[in-house]
């Protein structure tokens, strides 16, 4: 498997929050040989099932019924094999067209936490009737005061210049059309890659690595590889709804975290030295311990990421679905988050995927039972 090519395919797919179908389609197609079954749920999240040995689980039974008592109490456990779910969100930040101005200039709004410092002169693509390249323009420097030059231009004052006539623009573009940053998927030195949307396709690629690895591992637990929608908008809708449907015993959010670079050392982790394992209220202490043990047994270097409150990942939503889920957070360090030049190290993606696969192989009924014994 060419992981770099898979990652390139994933970042190319259009995917602003609320319009994630193109990424889900890549997963339906490319992961078909790796899972026993796959489907998209009603909100558009991808759910792939790799059954454990002897399991008869079927996606058509989703959402799984079950007693609504809290785990740990007698009768709370479902009777089937243990279920572990790993979620990586498939949506990404971007923009949406809000108005067509005289002259054909497009006004737009941001979707998700777009870094407004980087918008000016950004090359973008508008996903209209066809893919339309454009530049983000603003009031030019000669009519800008020195004070304004030290400030960020508000998004309302920016526009997209496509070079097309107003008539062409009105024919090709509709209000609500997605706006994505343009980028070049680039290999850098030392197996590092730079592109838009490494947040969170790097994690999606790690799920693929896990599925590939699981072909060679024996596991009794059912493994659900999930691509969730909506993470960048807030409320973690994809994570909450898929967790409700799957009713997992263990839920892992796979996401990106901050990698160290000059001027950004605090709460950041070295690039290329392995994934991070979250510790804090969002992370089951017992699960974190198992994850660390798996990493150590495999010789995978990792960092501990301290998360004093919300992990800022899907795990925050997954943890409190139904009667509660033992959650963990596995993260891939990434430089320059939410810029069009997000940079990751392929070794970290592979390490995260391997760790996840071997965690799945280690999950059995006893381990699941132990998760509820505080």
């Amino acid at each position: 498997m060419d992981l770099a090519k898979h990652l390139a395919d994933l970042v190319r797919a259009s995917s602003i929050t609320g319009r994630e179908r193109a990424v889900a389609n890549v997963l339906l197609q490319e992961w078909a040989p790796l899972v026993d079954e796959a489907k998209l749920d009603r909100l558009g999240s991808y759910i792939g099932l790799k059954r454990g040995e002897g399991s008869a689980a079927e996606l058509r039974s989703l959402p799984y019924p079950g007693p609504e008592t809290s785990p740990g109490r007698p009768g709370a456990r479902h009777s089937g094999p243990p279920k572990i779910m790993a979620a990586a969100h498939i949506d990404s930040i971007g923009g949406m067209v809000t108005a067509i101005e005289p002259g054909g200039f497009l006004r737009f709004t941001t979707v998700g936490g777009v870094d407004r410092r980087l918008l000016m002169a950004q090359e973008v693509e508008v996903h209209g009737k066809r893919l339309i390249p454009g530049l983000v323009g603003s009031k030019p420097p000669h009519v800008t005061t020195p004070e304004e030059r030290n400030k960020q231009m508000p998004v309302e004052d920016l526009y997209i210049d496509t070079g097309l006539t107003e008539a062409e623009v009105r024919d090709l573009v509709a209000l609500g059309d997605p706006v994505l940053p343009r980028y070049e998927f680039r290999e850098m030195k030392n197996g590092r890659y730079s592109s838009r949307y490494m947040d969170n396709r790097a994690s999606v690629a790690a799920l693929r690595v896990a599925l590939e690895e699981l072909k060679h591992l024996r596991h009794t637990a059912d493994f659900y590889a999930v691509g969730t929608v909506g993470e960048e908008f807030g409320g973690l809708p994809g994570a909450v709804t898929t967790t409700f449907a799957i009713k997992p015993d263990i839920g892992i959010a796979v996401d990106v975290t901050f990698a160290k670079h000059p001027n950004s050392e605090a709460d950041s982790f070295p690039l290329g030295e392995g994934p991070t394992i979250g510790v804090g209220p969002n992370c089951s202490p017992k699960l974190a311990k198992v994850m660390r043990k798996v990493a150590e047994d495999l010789g995978i270097h990792y960092s501990l990421e301290v998360m004093p409150g919300s992990s800022g990942t899907d795990a925050w939503g997954m943890q409190i679905v139904r009667g509660g889920v033992a959650t963990g957070v596995l993260s891939i360090p990434l430089r320059y988050m939410h810029t069009p030049v997000e940079t990751v190290d392929m070794a970290d993606i592979k390490a995260a995927g391997r760790l996840l696969a071997h965690l799945v192989a280690r999950v059995d009924a006893a381990l699941v039972e132990d998760m509820t014994c505080y």
Partner: protein, 342 residues
């Protein structure tokens, strides 16, 4: 397309060899003689008539060079020419003319304080990231202080007429000058094409070329700013992309020679060439350097309007570019016929 090859070529001020070599190769079949001088200007001569006309375009572009290499393998940068700090972070760049990929990153938005979010990222906090882990790795790539760093922008068509690329200031001027040389002959005049260096750091190549060539009249060909965009008062647009080549009224470096200016306007009108005036007095062009050589040289600037110049990607309308070619052509015919005597 020649403009495409010129835009994709790389050359910061002082390191214009790639652009110079491209022009040398393209123009060889069309000119009588070509040579270079002490500052790296490429001079071509065509024709041997009594009146000497110099057409000027600069080969350098704005960009960066490596200021220093950090111990952990990052590049600190210096600006070459005028660049707006607001448009620099989050971009892909090429390091050296080998085009080694790197990025200009920015601290994650999530980690920025409210104060940092509202402010422009100061240039001294920016650096290029090659993916290298230490200084030795960077040095092995042949990168050293002074190595050029370019915007990683590839030329493309946005529509039949509108194209996007880097360095249209002044590869647009280079394209206009080269097109004139390739399309037309003026045996009645000595036409010098001066592809000059170092405009962006103070109009330096043009001064030397004008001194050496000592022309009777000169025209500086430029790519200039254009702001007929949303939210800008029509009075403030500098030039309007799509409304023809721009004849300068005045800039910070020079007031055009009135006779040359009037003749350009006359031939434009006489030949139904759509033109406009560059309506802002800011900025400088090679005209400023040329006009003060020896005992003074009559000169005017003719520009192709470009939106978003001095950023990594600008737009121009090819009708404006070919309009400039046409305007210069008719000016040269007028000089050749003796209608205009400088």
């Amino acid at each position: 397309m020649l403009l495409e090859r010129l835009s994709n070529a790389c050359g910061i001020s002082g390191l214009e060899h790639e652009v110079r070599d491209l022009l040398r190769q393209e123009l060889a079949p069309y000119v009588d003689e070509m040579w270079t001088d002490a500052i790296g200007n490429l001079i071509v001569r065509k024709g041997n008539g009594p009146v000497k006309v110099m057409l000027d375009a600069h080969t350098d572009e704005v960009g960066y060079c490596v200021g220093s290499i950090t111990e952990d393998g990052y590049l600190r940068l210096k600006k070459i020419g005028g660049l707006d700090d607001r448009v620099l972070p989050g971009r892909q760049v090429w390091v050296t003319n080998q085009r080694i990929p790197a990025v200009l990153g920015a601290k994650a938005w999530h980690l920025c304080s409210a104060d940092e979010r509202g402010k422009v990222i100061p240039f001294d906090q920016m650096y290029a990231d090659l993916g290298c882990k230490d200084r030795a790795e960077v040095e092995e790539l042949g990168i050293e202080p002074g190595s050029p760093v370019y915007f990683a922008t590839t030329f493309e068509h946005f529509s039949d007429k509108v194209v996007k690329g880097k360095a249209f200031d002044d590869r647009a001027g280079c394209a206009v000058l080269a097109e004139v040389l390739m399309k037309h002959n003026y045996p009645g005049i000595t036409l010098y094409g001066a592809f000059v260096t170092q405009e962006e750091v103070g109009l330096r190549g043009a001064r030397i070329a004008a001194y050496n060539l000592n022309p009777d009249v000169a025209i500086a060909l430029e790519g200039t700013g254009s702001a007929n965009v949303a939210g800008v008062d029509p009075f403030d647009t500098i030039t309007n992309m799509g409304e023809g080549p721009a004849i300068s009224l005045m800039d910070n470096s020079a007031i055009p020679n009135l006779r040359v200016w009037e003749e350009l306007v006359r031939v434009a009108k006489a030949n139904n060439i759509k033109y406009q005036h560059r309506r802002i007095v800011g900025g400088g062009t090679d005209s400023g350097g040329i006009s003060l050589q020896r005992s003074g040289i009559p000169v005017c600037t003719v520009s192709t309007p470009c939106r978003y110049i001095h950023t990594h990607a600008a737009l121009l309308n090819l009708d404006d570019l070919y309009g400039a070619v046409n305007l210069v052509h008719h000016f040269l015919l007028s000089v050749e016929k003796g209608d205009f005597r400088p």
